[in-house]
Symmetry: C2
Subunit: 305 residues, 2 copies
């Protein structure tokens, strides 16, 4: 995981977090084309689908077809979300080499999202992690609603830190802290990161930010300033969580990459190619997407004539 301090690693979650909430279904071929275009843009880590029960999230019912259909390139990590042991086995059967588990810091949100208590979910994550270690499958973990729950309100930073620490003990390579409903402020980002940093180094933390109230990129900057070098984002700002009232799009990969590249951080990502994927998804979904960069385009000084 050692990286130069000016390198930032982005997990593209558009194909999963972005599309799971879309009423306009994107065909399997469209999803595969989306992933391959994102890889072509320089994304090295992509969460391609969720191995969730299709009855829960019908837009992702083609999870296995997507996983099998993508032409996998070396050096790229294709990840799948796994809500339970059955999902893990399905992911493994579909040839996934990386998975992600998820728990909410909020008991109520976890019940709504996973239909289990957080204790039950953490026990399930233990089981999944044991299997993943045996199967040599990389895994990461999400702590959702880490900055606020739509049902329970603000969350306890110490509880978030405790969950992150337990995930690290299971052997996951990274814990992603989710602002699931987009309520965090930079101050809260700093408070939670400082609590987490007591036991988990910032090189093991990712921020998964939603832009519900416009603060996602500012929150990313707050994390960056504290040493976070991994962010989850979604091409075009696609996304949301169907079980979180008020949730809207993820932080847009386009705008995040524009900011990071312009700051001199190394992402390895071509922002203009990302913007092309945004425009493709906007056409497929037949709606404008929230990312700003694709609307403005790059910046080159023009002739004054």
């Amino acid at each position: 995981m050692a990286m130069p301090s000016d390198s930032v690693s982005i997990m593209e979650v558009g194909p999963r977090d972005g599309l799971q909430n879309e009423s306009a279904l994107v065909a399997t071929d469209g999803k595969i084309g989306m992933v391959e275009a994102l890889v072509d843009a320089g994304l090295k880590r992509i969460e391609i689908t969720s191995f969730v029960n299709p009855r829960w999230i019908p837009p992702l019912a083609d999870q296995a077809e997507v996983a099998r259909g993508i032409r996998r390139l070396p050096g790229v990590d294709y990840a799948g979300l796994v809500p339970n042991v059955k999902g893990y086995e399905n992911a493994k059967a579909a040839g996934m080499k990386e998975i992600a588990v998820v728990v909410s810091s909020s008991e109520t949100h976890n019940r709504k999202n996973i239909n289990a208590s957080t204790s039950e979910t953490m026990a399930s994550c233990e089981e999944i992690s044991a299997r993943a270690r045996k199967d040599s499958i990389r895994f990461r973990a999400y702590v959702s609603t880490a900055f606020g729950c739509p049902y329970e309100g603000p969350q306890d930073a110490a509880r978030v830190a405790s969950l992150a620490t337990r995930f690290m003990a299971m052997g996951c390579y990274q814990v992603s802290l989710g602002d699931t409903i987009g309520v965090a402020s930079p101050r809260q980002i700093r408070e939670v990161l400082k609590a987490v940093n007591v036991t988990v180094g910032m090189d093991r933390i990712a921020l998964h930010l939603h832009d519900t109230r416009g603060t996602a990129l500012a929150n990313a900057l707050a994390g960056l300033d504290l040493g976070v070098r991994a962010f989850d984002s979604s091409v075009g700002g696609l996304g949301g969580c169907p079980y979180a009232p008020g949730a809207s799009g993820n932080l847009a990969t386009d705008d995040l990459v524009y900011m990071l590249n312009t700051m001199g951080m190394k992402t390895g990502i071509d922002v203009d190619k990302v913007a092309e994927v945004s425009r493709m998804m906007s056409r497929l979904l037949n709606r404008a997407l929230p990312a700003k960069y694709p609307q403005a385009g790059g910046w080159k000084a023009r002739s004054a004539s």
Copy 2:
């Protein structure tokens, strides 16, 4: 100008910077209602119009009617942009007690925007400042394209600092550095602020940010972290500059206030009332506005039932 370090002062520029670029003309009564509703929301500083030649910016041709029609409340600063001496005299005749002058750091942009060289504009600002001091009219100054010009590209931070210093010498109470075309990154914000800070204290600086590439609120945070306590923003994220290709909306007052209030900074502004004004302007202009907060609404933990 002394303020507690946790207080932030916002200059609402929606009635001027926001509306100058709108093809759908807002009636004079609508503008007056907008300003009064913003004051009711807690805004204490509002740029209500520009005293520009109406042939240049037809949507602001009712500048004097707006200035005279607003019911002025004590403790609120109503400001008018003044591009030249004639504009100053018109502003004064309309009863303005605060004005703002403007120059671009870019020679080419200044020519396009003001139809004068920067030397000519600075000489004009000298003349305006002398009259304003004599007339006891407060004045501030904008340095536009301070982070990038659509014609000339990146700008020299030392030149921005020099212009800001000259404005301070003229007696202006604040210099607002404009990211007119929304290209700045937090890194560039920091570099320019550090250059300016050699001669002008951060308590005299405002940031005027556009969200063209999604970075405005992150840039505001970068400024906040360096001690800037004054920001220009526009209700709903209205705005743009008709003479800057690619420019789009200002930083949204709604999202800025949400972030600042949530960080525990004192703005004195009711974000939900600002969002109400956003929705009113969206109806008047018959289009969706970019601010996120008004779409999501406030955040209160809900019943899980």
